[in-house]
């Protein structure tokens, strides 16, 4: 057993109102620079919908993630090492800018500088890339709220099965939800594995996946390999950039910007301990539908004395172990098992999980003339209404509708039980028992899902003391340095204005303290 810690995220999708605050604050923090105008480290897409970049979930086309070859070995879908090197000169599976969208700005100046006249001056859109006036024909969430869905949403790669035909024509009446997405900081990151120069890496301490800007050589293989298309080429610098999980904040014990600013307060951050030795085995699980359990099998119980001993042996500090025991992510993923990974079939073992939305089912109950508040109606819908269920299963369980159904039943039982309790009634414990919850657990889960405060949603242990010098030294620096900025006088490039840590490199066994 080799214990590693990861800071992971869970999102409760029922609460997402699709306001895009997370995307905008993320953009203002990380990608408001030339070269990445088109990139959204965090984006919110409407589901069903084609996604951003267009149809990114269609791995037949984009070749992202891992698959099992004929002999059952885990291989990157974009091909082996030799093939990757041979396609360096032109990457055959790289999305083009049109697959994202052409970024624009507006002629704001015209609003103030237009001469007096009978017409109201307007700010016309202008391409950021060519500087020419342009018309806006696509965006990162073009079919927001199913606008334009009849033309576009049929392109959703998750609408593949025979049941999908029906959805295509009916979903406008039945359901829609928002899916906020960011880099999954996978346990088995395809991007890292595909990077020819070894510039991408996963941090041992907190599992954050980063691109070393000094070692990236612009081979752009990571973009293809990531099945979530969450690595972006900066076309100004020629290097790859991706979601950093706001590591400077995380190191300081603060939540990511997208979490901090989430209007729906639906994001949870916490530690998960996992056994790094079992990652490869779990990712090679033969049946896609077993991947969810296989990944759960890699996570370790932070209360298990054996795990604690092994974690200490790998140098995980005590306060981190304590944080792991208080982790809301562990509770949602492992204890209550209501959170599910996005597209486990990509085999990257993603680490941003989702509590699937009950709203599509509730909408369907309404549409069928049922009563949302009657658990029997909802249970019946969960078991009989295939459309939203199969769709959610495509997203979260590699097509296993029973698992999604189970989670939705749990949420339904919880909802009706707590509703009765709030109304001062006893509460129907039989429904709870049917989904494997005790009344105490129900109260606890309800508290976590519905009323958890800041400190309960974000349990982020600060980076360790040895790093403190480096962290405080960055306080009065500008966090992003331009390639044209003057070099520091000692001639060393310092990334993000954060000084190099002077302490000895951690030993492979992990550092003590």
């Amino acid at each position: 057993m080799r214990v590693m810690a990861q800071i992971a995220m869970v999102m409760n999708l029922d609460k997402c109102i699709g306001c895009h605050t997370c995307s905008v604050t993320c953009k203002q923090t990380w990608t408001n620079r030339s070269g990445v105008e088109y990139a959204w480290f965090n984006n919110v897409e409407t589901k069903p919908g084609v996604g951003y970049p267009r149809r990114y979930e269609d791995q037949e086309q984009w070749k992202g993630g891992w698959m099992l070859d004929r002999r059952g070995r885990l291989v990157l879908r974009s091909g082996g090492r030799v093939r990757r090197l041979l396609s360096l000169f032109s990457n055959p599976d790289l999305p083009s800018l049109e697959d994202y969208y052409e970024p624009v700005t507006y002629d704001y100046d015209n609003l103030v500088s237009a001469p007096a006249g009978p017409d109201m001056p307007v700010a016309r859109p202008r391409s950021v890339l060519t500087g020419k006036p342009t018309s806006i024909t696509w965006g990162a969430n073009w079919e927001d709220g199913l606008g334009g869905a009849p033309e576009n949403a049929g392109g959703d790669p998750n609408l593949g099965g025979d049941w999908a035909e029906k959805v295509r024509f009916e979903f406008e009446q039945t359901f829609l939800f928002h899916l906020p997405r960011l880099c999954e900081h996978c346990l088995n990151p395809a991007c890292v594995s595909a990077c020819p120069s070894g510039a991408m890496y996963k941090r041992v301490e907190d599992g954050i996946v980063l691109v070393d800007q000094d070692r990236c050589r612009g081979w752009r293989m990571c973009v293809t390999a990531c099945p979530y298309k969450k690595v972006y080429v900066n076309h100004a610098t020629g290097k790859a950039e991706k979601c950093t999980f706001c590591f400077p904040r995380i190191e300081a014990g603060q939540p990511t910007v997208c979490s901090e600013t989430c209007v729906g307060r639906l994001r949870y951050l916490g530690l998960l301990l996992y056994d790094a030795d079992r990652v490869g085995e779990a990712a090679s699980t033969p049946d896609e539908k077993d991947l969810l359990d296989a990944q759960r099998g890699v996570f370790l119980d932070p209360r298990d004395p054996e795990v604690i001993a092994a974690a200490r042996a790998s140098g995980i500090p005590e306060d981190w172990l304590e944080a792991a025991r208080r982790s809301p992510v562990y509770d949602l993923v492992m204890r209550y098992r209501v959170a599910l990974p996005l597209h486990p079939e990509y085999r990257t073992l993603p680490m941003v999980w989702y509590v699937p939305p009950l709203s599509p089912v509730l909408d369907a109950v309404d549409a069928a003339g049922g009563n949302q508040d009657d658990p029997d109606h909802v249970f019946a819908a969960v078991t009989r209404l295939r459309i939203p269920l199969e769709y959610l299963a495509e997203l979260f369980t590699a097509g296993d509708a029973d698992v999604v159904g189970g989670v939705l039943m749990k949420l339904t039982a919880l909802r009706s039980y707590m509703r009765e309790r709030t109304l001062g009634e006893a509460g129907d414990e039989a429904a709870l028992r049917a989904v494997g919850l005790t009344p105490g657990e129900a109260e606890d889960l309800h508290r976590l899902l519905a009323v958890a405060k800041y400190a309960d949603r974000y349990v982020v242990p600060a980076a360790h003391k040895e790093d403190a010098a480096a962290l405080t030294a960055m306080e009065n620096r500008c966090p992003v340095e331009s390639s044209g900025d003057p070099q520091p006088s000692d001639g060393r490039r310092v990334m993000l204005g954060i000084p190099t840590l002077r302490r000895a490199p951690a030993s492979p066994e992990g550092d003590p303290a």
């Binding site: 620079r33 070269g35 990445v36 105008e37 090492r81 090197l85 000169f89 032109s90 990457n91 790289l94 083009s96 890339l129 060519t130 500087g131 020419k132 890292v192 594995s193 070894g198 510039a199 991408m200 890496y201 996963k202 941090r203 041992v204 301490e205 907190d206 980063l210 691109v211 070393d212 800007q213 000094d214 070692r215 050589r217 080429v233 076309h235 100004a236 020629g238 950039e241 991706k242 590591f247 190191e251 790094a276 990652v279 490869g280 790093d467 480096a470 340095e481 331009s482 390639s483 900025d485 490039r493 310092v494 990334m495 993000l496 000084p499 840590l501 490199p505 951690a506 992990g510 550092d511």
Partner: protein, 270 residues
Amino acid sequence: MSAAPVPLAAASGAELLLWVAVPYVCLAVFAVGHVWRYRQDQFGWTSRTSQLLEHRWLRWGSPLFHLGAFMVIAGHVVGLAVPASWTEAVGVDEHTYHLTAVWAGSVAGVAMVAGLGMLCARRLLTRRVRLGTDRSDKVLFPLLSATVVLGIAATAAHNVFGAGYDYRSTVSVWFRGLFALQPQPEAIAGAPLLFQLHALTACLLFAAWPFTRLVHVWSAPVGYLARPYLVYRSRSGAAVPAPGGGVPRPRSGGHGSGGRRSGGRTGSRA
């Protein structure tokens, strides 16, 4: 350089300047420039891919150009660095050499010219790519094109359509002399103008090399073939062995969690 005083003394001042001073200065800039850039500008050390902005021309142009370039480089190694006596010693006579050189050279040359033509065309004609062209590109592309075109022109004029010119006993001798530190400017002084111009633009290209995107050539990621798939690093920047065994390359710079600096801030876009 003192080893061959006689020929050097016999060379005119202009010959000395063009065929001894210029090449050595260019080579020095090439060497020192690389060391300087590698140490100072890891962040700028990239192929500066433009595939995102334009992919239809690049799809064909880049592989054609690179394939041609590799063949052309191989050809130059054989033609310039290996003396004729060596190839003859392994049983390749002048006629066979000439035939192979002309044929393989033509294929390589055509691929390289066609590829470079496409790359230049997209750079000029695609507005997005043109706007992303920086000063170093504005030096690199003309210089590279001039070198390639002059090389092809010299070969075509003298060896494909012309009477045949044995550069191996002139240009190659000069080239090897430079590296043997026994410069022989007179060896190339009598060569046809096209060969001389090709040699000169090549020297300039080498001088410009470290300051352009051509530095990506030295980062050819062959190590990828042997590396473990997953790369772990500790927050302090140290490489950590992957659980599956195998040791990733250690970090040299120790820039902590790389990826922190995400690029340049260029002011407002509004």
